[in-house]
Amino acid sequence: MHKVLETEAAAPSLTLSGISKSFPGVKALDNIALELYPGQVTALIGENGAGKSTLVKIMTGIYQPDGGAITLNGQDITLPTAHAALGLGITAIHQETVLFDELSVAENIFLGHAPRTRFGMIDWRKLRAEAKDILASMGAPIDPNARLKDLSIANKHLVAVARALSIEAQIVIMDEPTAALSHKEIEELFVLIDLLKQDGKAILFISHKFDEIFRVADRYAVFRDGEMVGAGLMKDTEQSQLVRMMVGRSVERAFPKLDVTPGDVVLDVNNLSHPTEFEDISFSLREGEILGFYGLVGAGRTEVMQTLFGITKPSGGSVRLDGKPALAKNPAKAIESGIVYVPEERGRQGAITGLPIFQNISLPSLKKTSKSGFLRLAEEFALARKYSERLDLRASSLSQEVGTLSGGNQQKVVIGKWLATAPRVIILDEPTKGIDIGSKAAVHEFISELAADGLAIIMVSSELPEIMGMSDNVIVMREGRIAGRFAREHLDAETLVRTAAGIEGDPA
């Protein structure tokens, strides 16, 4: 790969035009145009689900676009595989770096393009020397012979950057690189980004944190619902304008929220804390209330919910259900007391995809459907039939394996299995993540009906329209703490985003 010369700086290195990508039921990207300039950082901004990750996957050859063109230095290119993208000098640094823990730093840097001896063997001496040179040029105090797993996350990022330098990448994509870093480490990363800029790399920087974006980016592009809604130079814009573009009209979508007057307090959480994930979480939840938990990924919302469900152990605090202590030791105890949890990772934690629908639904209710430990299939089918009808499940039979259903219908099975336990409190963690629009509406409608029936509901969501459309009250979490509480009538998208991201000051 030849280096981009200073004189070419005016022309974009990489141009995407008319890029579209659909998944069954979802249009992930619609006619996207994006230009990346050499020696400049372009910030990609958008809510979760706006299509940022899909675009990264297209740029790195993991997904194929349905239509559109990609040009690199004026040449039309295609990226059929990840290997092809790497070969053309496009590399990505992810939030959780995709490197190899058991290999040395030097091996990680040169994996796939190691220098060879004339016998075709890896030239270890040269490999270590070059790795050392690259790390030294970055000012990174890392031993090239160290095992990657012994490094901090920040240093792993540095190794990923070194890898980008070693393949002489022209395009470097950074997908939320600072999510797991401390302040000092973030500063060090920014120094490196400056280094990459000086080297003429075109950088795409994805982050939810506006202070970072304003610190490193030269340009911005804002995505919303798979479309590009704005792009330009950072110096010509300000936070409030970006937030407005990001949030846009998508908030005004209709949600089937029923008006419910919340009843008595069901769940009372006081000063719940965890050594590393969250601190001082207090809130109460009433019958018929939908309490939304908003925040950035990694804000600690899931950890709080899994503590209520007995999976994560807290370091302090109390939980009361109907006035009685209810800090569960394990999920079995939580279910017994009436707290159930629909997890975010449906395939791994929610559904047992290899078992039929009726066995999934009856699983937490086996005590009820069986008699002195012996299964009663008729009871199980009756239970499954009741909840699949209530949830409007689409399946050929109740004996169909859950893994063969669509994402939306799998989620209905998971929700159904919890409703069958007749809970007091149901916690929904990203309940509509990755499911098609039709099923989404059905799930929303159903959640609303449950609240009307008097169930107390906690809904964790990173999607603003969902949070705003469904919640009676919203708690915003940031970095493990409660950063704000809002009642439905005071909900405002910009305030929520600002609170979650920790932006000071009044909107312009």
């Binding site: 469900f309 791994r348 009726f358 086996l366 299964l375 039709g438 059905a442 409608e445």
Partner: protein, 334 residues
């Protein structure tokens, strides 16, 4: 999919009757194979169709098959227990050791079973208490348990078991029907009920399919795995009593390498080696098939080494065949 309708849909419980799906099952295929081997054997040797030699044939597999019943549940839960044969060695050695102090038959049996349970509890503690992978733990205890037996016995053997002790491995309940066979069939019924008819069994399937989601559904995953290892330990103890009684002596090499035949039986019976699927019925037929095959080869004077080759090939083809068939089908469809 786009429109959200409000009318409840009628989803049938099943598309096929249980009887119809049973006809298409792996178990049905096994029954056909068993019949074919039976017929082939009866042509191969004139001595085969004698009731007494058929009865003798069952001794080839009953002890292993008793362990296979519990092993099936362990494998369905996504774990494995490779120490079962060594548990037999240790339990048998313990019985032989106790014999030196002149204990009576009921005490001998109790010692055999208790040692089995203790060994199983040790495995279970390491697997579910410390969260270690069972394949490593039980390869370790496989060496450990048999090692202890070797230290106690050296190249000696314990002999002189009481005459009423011989009934368990040599006695007949009625005519040619041995005590071992009756015990195996009775235990098969018990295990069938536990695995397929209780909520405990359902939890075993759930854990084998997805341990995380099972835990998130309120199943006590660790407790159930612990119980399963105690069960394989107990069944190994039962097998130790039967085998020691049948041989009338204990050597440290007793039941050597049985774990492989037990696992083969389970996998041949249609239990997924990856966990999450299988049936006791399949394992029972597989036990009969393995008994018929080894006995048939024995009648033909095929040496033991060749039998071991045969069992190895059987294990590989049982695991590999479904994969090959799936590939071929996919290629034909493409």
């Amino acid at each position: 999919m786009s429109a959200v309708s409000h009318s409840p849909r009628n989803i049938p419980d099943r598309l096929e009757s249980p009887f119809k799906s049973a006809l298409k099952s792996w178990e049905m295929l096994l029954i056909i194979v068993a019949i074919a081997i039976f017929v082939a054997n009866s042509f191969a040797s004139p001595y085969f169709l004698n009731p007494w030699s058929l009865s003798d044939a069952t001794f080839n597999f009953t002890e292993k098959a008793i362990i296979a019943l519990a092993m099936a549940m362990v494998i369905i839960s996504g774990e494995i227990d490779l120490s079962v044969a060594s548990i037999i060695a240790l339990a048998s050695t313990a019985m032989g050791f106790a014999l030196q102090f002149g204990v009576d038959t009921p005490t001998l049996v109790a010692i055999g079973l208790l040692v089995g349970v203790a060994c199983g509890a040790f495995n279970g503690m390491l697997v579910s208490g410390l969260g270690l992978p069972s394949i490593v733990v039980t390869i370790g205890t496989m060496s450990l348990f048999r090692g202890i037996a070797y230290i106690v016995l050296g190249d000696q053997a314990f002999r002189g078991y009481p005459s009423d002790f011989a009934f368990f491995g040599q006695g007949y309940v009625w005519w040619v029907i041995s005590f071992e066979l009756v015990l195996f069939l009775a235990l098969a019924v018990v295990f069938y009920i536990i695995l397929h008819r209780t909520s405990f069994g359902r939890s075993v399937f759930a854990i084998g399919n997805n341990p995380v989601a099972a835990q998130f559904s309120g199943i006590r995953v660790r407790r159930i795995k612990f119980i399963l290892f105690i069960l394989t330990g107990l069944m190994s103890g039962v097998a130790a009593v039967l085998l020691t009684s049948r041989l009338g002596s204990t050597r440290p090499s007793i039941a050597f390498a049985w774990e492989l035949e037990v696992v083969t039986m389970v996998v041949l019976g249609g239990v997924s080696i990856l966990g999450g699927a299988g049936s006791i019925f399949g394992v029972v037929i597989a036990a009969f098939i393995m008994g018929l095959v080894t006995f048939g080869l024995g009648l033909l004077n095929v040496p033991g080494i060749v039998m071991s080759i045969f069992i190895g090939l059987m294990l590989i083809s049982v695991i590999g065949l479904p994969v090959v068939i799936r590939r071929v089908r996919a290629r034909m469809a493409a």
